[in-house]
Structures are given as C-alpha cells and as structure tokens.
C-alpha cells in the first residue's frame, strides 16, 4: 500500500498537546513525523536502510528537544532540517572514513504504483516516467536535490524551504528552477537513449 508524499502534517494541535505530555498526541505526532522524516531521508540518501536509520535518529533528536519547541511555529521545516543535518553529517563521516556508498536503489524499490487506475496504460506510463525521474535525481547536486525534493515531493512552500535549508527565498526559486531544468534535460536524454535502444 502506498502513501502520497502530499500528506499534510497536521501541525499545531498535536504538537501543543504533545508538549503538554499527552501520550496519544505524542504517539500520533511520532507516527506522522516518522513518515515524513523517513521519506525525506529516502529522497536524500536514496537508500532504504540508511533512510530508516536517519529517520530513527531524527525522531530521537526531535523528541529530545520538543519541550523547548515553540508550538506556534510549523513543525515540518524543523523536522526536515534535523533530517537534512543528519544526512549531511553521515555523508561527511562517510567521506572521512573513505567508505564507498553502495549504489542507490532503483526506482522500482521505492516507488509504489497506484493500486487502481481507470486507465492502466496511462498509469503504467506515468509510473515509468516517475521512476525515470527518480533515477535522474542522482545527477543533481545535493543542494539542488534538497530544494527539489522539499518542493515537489513534500509540497513545502518556498518560505518553508528557505526556513528548512537556511537560504533566502529568492535563492530557493533560482536553485529549484536550475534543478528542474537539469532534471528535465537528463530525463529527456535518457528517454531518447532508451528509445534509440542505447539504454535499458
């Protein structure tokens, strides 16, 4: 069963209740945040096992400091910033240890095709395109991938992305545009190669 990334994180009430110590609100918030953290980590690392570890660590950090969090502020930029920092820390440590990351998982492993569609052929084509785009994400720099994933896979506004990544709103727009252009060109190139029989 799949979940859309457009899932909206119900923000204020659960956080306020969780800070007050409501066990059920805390559990609901944990479940919701864990899903978001896992997906974002998956988008950045492109590895299922690593994403699960990052999401777990992010949840620990999230709940370790939740008592100091201002419930008036949105949760998602804060949570996703924790995930982003953890992924960056891991990447830095991996570089220091000179470890070679395993290949990113193929789109088939992480993308869930919709269960029922009125037009199966169109749906299959769309999923194929989605998988191609997912694979093309590897050509983006980490900065470009961050903003693109936050906007297009998580549905954050430019202001929220600016808050999460710590860059001005105008930079979000230009970086996102550059990322989309690179991604579009790469997807077109691979499509052409595939159609001419040069790629699988």
């Amino acid at each position: 069963m799949g979940v859309s990334t457009a899932v909206t994180l119900t923000e204020r009430p659960p956080v306020a209740l969780a800070i007050e110590g409501d066990i059920h609100a805390r559990e609901d918030l944990a479940r919701e945040c864990h899903r978001q953290a896992f997906l974002f980590a998956l988008h950045l690392t492109r590895r299922h096992d690593e994403a699960a570890d990052v999401a777990q660590d992010a949840m620990l950090r999230f709940f370790a400091s939740i008592d100091r969090f201002d419930p008036e502020r949105p949760v998602r930029p804060w949570l996703l910033r924790i995930v982003r920092n953890l992924v960056r820390d891991r990447a830095r440590r991996a570089r220091v240890r000179r470890t070679t990351p395993l290949e990113a998982e193929a789109g088939e492993a992480v993308i869930d095709p919709p269960s029922c569609e009125p037009d199966p052929e169109a749906a299959a084509e769309r999923v194929q395109l989605q998988r191609l785009v997912w694979r093309c994400l590897e050509v983006l720099s980490s900065e470009q991938r961050e903003v693109l994933v936050l906007r297009d896979y998580h549905g954050l506004s430019y202001a929220e992305i600016a808050d999460t990544v710590g860059i001005p709103r105008g930079t979000v727009m230009s970086r996102l545009h550059r990322a989309r252009c690179v991604l579009s060109e790469e997807a077109n190139r691979r499509l052409l190669m595939r159609n001419s029989g040069g790629d699988r």
């Binding site: 069963m1 799949g2 859309s4 999401a55 492993a109 769309r126 297009d152 230009s174």
Partner: protein
C-alpha cells in the same frame, strides 16, 4: 531552439509561476511573457510535465512497527541514573564490608592470598567487562530509547 530566453527575462520566475509563489505583478508579467516567448513556453511545458510526475509519485510506506520505541522521558532518565548510582554505592559498601570481615576473620597469609587473589581476579575481569560496556554505551545512538 536557443538554450536561454532571448530577452532579459529571468527564467527562474517560470518555476515561481508554476508553483504559484509569485506576487500578483510578477505573475502577470510572466503570463504576458509566456504569450510572446516560444522558448519560455516550451521550458514551462517541460517543467509542468516534470512537476506533474514528481508531485503524483507515491512512495513505499515504512511500516509503523519501525517506530515502536519511544525516547526516554525525563523521569525515566533520572530514575535510571539514580538507580545506577545507588546500586554502585551499595556494591562498593557491601564488598568493602565483606572484604574487611574476611580479612579480619582469616588468620594465615596463605588463606588470605587464596581468597583475595581469587576475588581480585574476578574483580578485574568484571571491571574490564564494565569498561567495555560503558564505552559501547557512549557511542550507542539508541541509548536514549526505551526498548
């Protein structure tokens, strides 16, 4: 087709327009520009297709059992630390008292060497295990989690 818009138009605004993130005046500016510029119209169409693909992507769902642990609360942390402190103090006092009693009650040096030699060996082995465990606990990322 050229790779960039022939006019001085800022192409990044196409993404802002697509996402509905522009001010009203910029939005109108882009709309008018798109009517006149073939290049930007083509870029916009490609970006729209790409965004449609990304925004409708559904990803696998991590099972809920992945989050079946909760962070240790403040009361739990205090109880855990206090429990260890009390247990260690009790162990030192009890062992010290027992050692003192054995020392006083045992007469010969040979018996004392046998008893305290054995106890010292066990104590050293135990402390080496404790030191290893403490080192591992220091780098365990899940130490703050209640199992």
């Amino acid at each position: 087709m050229t790779r960039h818009c022939p006019s001085s138009f800022d192409e990044a605004m196409l993404s802002g327009y697509l996402d509905g993130e522009l001010t009203q005046s910029d939005d109108q500016r882009v709309r008018i520009h798109l009517e006149d510029c073939d290049h930007c119209r083509e870029v916009y169409r490609r970006l729209e297709n790409l965004r449609e693909a990304t925004m409708t992507t559904q990803f696998i769902k991590e099972p809920d059992r992945q989050w079946d642990e909760r962070p240790r609360g403040a009361a739990s942390r205090v109880g855990f630390t206090l429990g260890w402190v009390v247990a260690i103090v009790w162990l030192i006092l009890t062992c010290g008292y027992a050692g003192w009693q054995i020392w006083v009650d045992t007469d010969g040096w040979f018996e004392k060497t046998l008893i305290f030699g054995g106890l010292a060996a066990v104590g050293l082995l135990f402390s080496s295990v404790v030191i290893d465990r403490l080192r591992t606990a220091g780098s365990d990322p899940y130490r703050k989690v209640e199992k």
